[in-house]
């Protein structure tokens, strides 16, 4: 091995956003024809590293060599030209174009006719045919519209597109997230063919069994640093999990004791959402934090908002809220029934960036800050100041525009909205996504305090450490079902193992 020049050599890569270091001295090498799995929990730096490789971000430090040659990518198109292709997690195909058009999108073969440059449809179809045959899919017709293909075959069209431009390095981000097990096998088959033709693959996935099936080597990142480099054939899942998650419980979650849980606030019995959630049941008590962990696509991204009512009426479910029958119908109905909801995508679904902190906090229960016909700014201000102080929101004051606050402080504003009389249950999706470590600790502390003050708190998160760390009880969701139940003190690795990644763990 020492004699071959690696296909990719990233050395000493460093990157900070503002004052927050995201990557520090990270190395990643990939040989020609090698499949390297890149693992790490949320925020470990995987996607930042890949964005640097594919030219989306500039690095602050370090070097990148491809086939021995130093490269600097100023933009994604320069990376693509150098043969570095990214398959994003969300499938990006043009549904109303044909398979052949999708494959040659951006680089269509041209012929000259009647003095005009025209797309050479014949050449495009012919070369699509060759590529699809090479990949082992003679059944996909180049003239078919992509929207008529099943999702897995759309994925394959995407891969063919990457190969059409002579890929040397293919980065696949959770390529099987929306696929069935059978379809995932098809993707693996393709990866083996790519391997045979000396294409290097960087494979990002949370599913350990996939990683062990397909990769030659596993590189683990933790907190923006290299945390492990394993030859897949000579390592165990336990070693990889330990490198990913560590064995020590972070003091991030050491934020005060919980009190004894009180009466039952939320009782869910056999909640189903077709195709996403299957007969899920659980309860949340007053004074308790229940955490639900699930990977992308497990249903964790819909369960909370379905209960709140944001997905409209949920049929056939039996939900009780504070002992009363509660039917999720609409966000408004959920709010009036006493549920507060903090959405995962803070920027898109949470903050109203151009309004002030005061206006954002008062907005959810605006009718309570009125004197007669008019909004009472002094009432709003008093209320906002109280929660700015209580939650430690760092702002020049209630009149600051929310846009200019940091992510963590914006998140606190989103929580403060629901801290009014009558709200019994707080549902939070990904409560600390995109929040720096200091603010994370504060948010966990405040959630604990709110629980102790009598709120029932339900957290849904794809961050396993967060769920294991902050919850009094935790559930693990996998493919729409609850597959594990844990009490306080469970290790992140145990929760992760329950997702079906590791039979040895789930038996324990």
């Amino acid at each position: 091995m020492a004699t071959t020049i690696p296909r990719l050599g990233m050395h000493g890569i460093g990157k900070s956003f503002g004052n927050v270091p995201v990557l520090a001295d990270v190395d990643l090498t990939v040989d020609p024809g090698e499949v390297v799995a890149l693992l790490g929990s949320n925020g470990a730096g995987k996607s930042t590293l890949m964005k640097i490789l594919t030219g989306l971000y500039n690095r602050d430090a370090g070097s990148i060599r491809i086939d021995g040659e130093e490269v600097v990518f100023g933009s994604p198109s320069e990376a693509v030209a150098a043969g570095v292709k990214l398959l994003p997690q969300e499938i990006s195909v043009m549904p109303d174009m044909t398979v052949a058009e999708n494959i040659f999108l951006g680089d269509m073969p041209i012929r000259r006719r009647f003095g005009l440059n025209q797309v050479d449809g014949d050449a495009m179809r012919r070369r699509s045919r060759e590529l699809l045959d090479q990949l082992g899919f003679p059944s996909i017709a180049p003239d078919e519209l992509v929207k008529n293909l099943p999702v897995a075959e759309q994925r394959i069209v995407e891969i063919a597109r990457a190969l059409a431009g002579k890929a040397r390095i293919l980065v696949m981000d959770e390529p099987t997230a929306a696929l069935t097990e059978q379809e995932a096998k098809m993707i693996f088959k393709i990866i083996r063919r790519l391997q045979a033709s000396q294409v290097s693959v960087i494979y990002i996935s949370h599913y350990l069994n996939e990683v062990f099936e397909i990769s030659d080597r596993i590189v683990v990142l933790r907190d923006g640093r290299n945390a492990g480099n394993f030859a897949t054939a000579r390592t165990s899942r336990a070693d990889v999990l330990a490198a990913m998650l560590g064995n020590t419980v972070d003091d991030l979650y050491d934020v005060g004791a919980s009190i004894a849980a009180g009466e039952e606030i939320l009782h869910v019995d056999r909640l189903s959402i077709p195709g996403k959630i299957e007969e899920v049941g659980f309860t949340v008590r007053q004074g308790e934090i229940l955490g639900i962990f699930g990977l992308v696509g497990s249903g964790v991204e819909v369960l909370g908002r379905a209960l709140y009512g944001a997905l409209g009426p949920v049929k056939g479910s039996e939900v009780r809220l504070g002992g009363q029958v509660y039917r999720p119908r609409s966000a408004r109905a959920g709010k009036l029934a006493g549920i507060g909801f903090v959405a995962a995508e803070r920027k898109k679904e949470g903050i109203i960036a151009d309004l002030t902190v005061r206006e954002n906090i008062a907005l959810s229960f605006q009718e309570r800050f009125e004197r007669g016909l008019f909004v009472s700014q002094s009432d709003e201000s008093r209320h906002a100041k109280r929660w700015i102080e209580d939650l430690g929101i760092r702002t020049r004051g209630p009149e600051q525009t929310l846009r200019t606050l940091s992510g963590g402080n914006q998140q606190k504003v989103c929580i403060a909205r629901w801290l009014v009389e009558g709200v019994k249950l707080l549902i939070l999706e990904e409560p600390t996504r995109g929040v720096d470590v200091g603010a994370r600790r504060e948010i966990y502390g405040k959630l604990r305090e709110l629980a102790n003050r009598g709120y029932a708190v339900l957290i849904l998160s794809s961050d396993v450490e967060e769920v294991a760390g902050v919850s009094d009880r935790s559930l693990v969701l996998d493919r729409g079902r609850i597959v594990g139940q844990f009490t306080r003190g469970a290790k992140p690795a145990e929760l992760m193992a329950a997702t079906g990644n590791d039979p040895a763990f789930s038996a324990a």
Binding site: A310, G334, F341, A353, L363, E370, V375
Partner: protein, 315 residues
């Protein structure tokens, strides 16, 4: 730069300076411009445009758009004139016309919210339907609308101030209070600033937007009433040419086409600027055809300014 453009009031202040500059230039160029008589004249002349632009402002802030407003103004004059000719008392005729406009507003609102159609398409279609109906009703002819008492709201003066100007200022004042001091106002900014977030905290988005379409349509009807009373005649397409001025004023006034940002005072200053520009160019004997060109240029400058401002805010 970012700090300057970011503050809502800085935009209005800049416009104010621009307005004063314009006044200064025309004063130098024409001796007839800087007279109290002419200034009040401008105020009266732009009032019907201001009425439409005032109500269009919160609608655009909330993420909507109403291109049918000027057509509604035209239809209103026609309806009032025909009902009056048929023997219905003039003020009852006005009331009926306002109700008709409100219904049109509800239809605009339902199509854009319930069916989630693009407001540009819906209100463009509505504009065509309404101006078509007005043409059918009149056979394309302008109808007389000369009624003692009634014409006062278009041509009358209170202490020398034109009544239409007073009506326009009242409209701006009421909307300003509603938008800054009432719950409904908060919902307007929230709906336009981040509709999904607003929905998720249980704000009645549909109700808010439908109400705004109704307000816009009714203000179109009020504008049509004022215009008819001012001219003593009702043409089927009396205000149609001013649709572009209305939209231009709102955007020039600093309201973001993306929604979420803007104020009625910016719109007011912009209406005065556009009115002054027309008046000044007329006094300088510039052909009205050139005035169309000027308005287009101002609109494009305003939209560019909007973009620069948005980018300065880092979106």
């Amino acid at each position: 730069m970012a700090a300057l453009f970011g503050r809502p009031w800085s935009g209005v202040a800049m416009l104010g300076v621009f307005y004063l500059l314009l006044v200064l230039i025309f004063s130098v160029l024409s001796p007839f411009f800087m007279t109290l008589r002419n200034m009040l004249q401008i105020g009266g002349n732009v009032a019907y445009i201001g009425l439409m632009a005032a109500a269009g402002t919160p609608l655009i802030i909330a993420g909507g758009l109403d291109l049918s407003v000027a057509a509604i103004a035209g239809l209103t004059g026609v309806v009032i004139s025909m009902l009056y000719t048929a023997g219905i008392p003039i003020w009852i005729a006005v009331a009926i016309a306002l109700v008709v406009a409100a219904i049109i507003g509800v239809i605009n609102g339902l199509f854009t919210t319930r069916l989630r159609l693009n407001p540009l398409i819906v209100t463009l279609g509505m504009m065509s339907i309404i101006s078509g109906i007005a043409l059918v009703l009149t056979g394309g002819l302008t109808r007389p609308l000369s009624v003692p008492g009634f014409n006062w709201i278009g041509a009358g003066r209170v202490f020398g101030v034109p009544v239409p100007f007073i009506l326009m200022m009242a409209m701006f004042l009421v909307l300003w209070v509603v938008m800054t001091r009432m719950r409904f106002g908060r919902f307007i900014y929230a709906a336009g600033g981040n509709a999904e977030a607003a929905r998720l905290i249980g704000i009645p988005l549909e109700k808010t937007l439908i109400s705004l379409y109704v307000i816009s349509a009714v203000s179109g009807a009020i504008a049509g009433t004022v215009l008819g009373a001012m001219l003593g005649a009702a043409g089927p397409n009396a205000a149609g040419a001013q649709l572009l001025t209305v939209i231009a004023a709102i955007i020039l006034g600093g309201t973001s086409l993306n929604g979420g940002r803007g104020s009625v005072w910016g719109t007011l200053v912009a209406v005065l600027i556009l009115g002054t520009l027309n008046n000044g160019l007329t006094l300088l004997n510039v052909s009205s055809f050139w005035q169309d060109v000027t308005r287009g240029v101002v609109l494009m400058l305003a939209v560019s300014l909007d973009q620069i401002r948005t980018r300065a805010l880092g979106e």
